[in-house]
Symmetry: C2
Subunit: 200 residues, 2 copies
């Protein structure tokens, strides 16, 4: 079905243009006009795919989720559970330029959703996706007997999410380097996971 | 020295006006003119105290630090070390309206310092103050033999800071309620501190 592929290709191209507008002008800068100019499309053609600011923002949030999830799947394949957990979480820390750009997009949504309730709907996919991943991790590790004894999987999911988001903010601010972020992540995993050694 | 007291009173009054402008219009909205209008001062009189946007932002950051530190001192006095640590950290979580307002100011600085390096200087006092507090906590607890064995005080300070800032963001976003934030904070303290029971 080449038509469908083409359609999805176009949506991704547009979502990438939305990202460039967000990185340059913030979420406030996103409009059908601004994205059309950025993508080199007519506003009429753009409206055929994404007709409102809300749809544009939703496409940007979806692109963020898609990219991170695809990379997580690629980089955790074949790993033992503990290493897969670490590899997955590394995909949301600003450890290289690609992830710093994603982090800046994430932070733009986080920031705006504090002041603009409508943004929250678009943001929800980003926040909830990460919370679900943390829930999955602590529940699976508990079921496999690899969560440290006495820990509550739900509380640990919220704590893991807080650690990772806190590290991401400090890393994006340039207050923590890559080694520092990884040292904290490893200390956290060493503590909540059973019989774990510090990974190489 | 009534003159000095008066002078400090005025600076606080102006810093509070800067906060109101930030909460309404963001950090971008802060200018000598906007703050003068907000405070009901002439721009000339305002310039006598705070002559530039940088000075206005620095006064807002200082007010944030002063308020939090003063409350921490008030609320930790007479407590045992472990309870004092918990009480101090609670002062930077958005657990009531006062702290939610402070959190919004903190977040505004955090957000802008991602995109505007000059803001980072004003923000530094806020970030570094919190990191210093976390360093103090883990170092003191280690010296008193109350840090759990095998933990590195420097890594634990960074991890504690990440947990608290992550919780603050999730709380400000309305994604975690007060009980949820406290459950995570208590789980974290129970884990890093020696011989600790869950506090009431």
């Amino acid at each position: 079905m080449p038509k469908v592929v083409d359609h999805e290709e176009r949506r991704r191209e547009l979502a990438e243009a939305v990202w460039r507008v967000i990185l340059r002008d913030g979420l406030e800068g996103v409009s059908v006009r601004a994205v059309a100019v950025e993508a080199g499309w007519s506003t009429g053609a753009l409206r055929h795919y994404l007709g409102t600011k809300e749809e544009l923002l939703a496409s940007a949030a979806r692109l963020l989720e898609e990219r991170v999830v695809a990379r997580m799947q690629r980089r955790t394949g074949g790993l033992a559970p503990r290493e897969a957990v670490r590899a997955a979480l590394c995909e949301v820390l600003p450890l290289d330029e690609e992830r710093r750009v994603e982090g800046a997009i994430w932070f733009a949504f986080t920031d705006r959703s504090l002041v603009e309730p409508r943004i929250s709907e678009e943001y929800q996919v980003v926040f909830s996706g990460m919370r679900e991943l943390c829930n999955l991790i602590t529940r699976d590790m508990a079921e496999m007997g690899q969560l440290a004894p006495g820990l509550d999987p739900a509380v640990e999911a919220a704590r893991l999410h807080a650690v990772v988001d806190g590290l991401a903010v400090h890393g994006l601010l340039g207050r923590m380097d890559e080694a520092g972020m990884l040292a904290v992540l490893d200390a956290h995993l060493a503590e909540i996971l059973q019989n774990s050694e510090a990974p190489g």
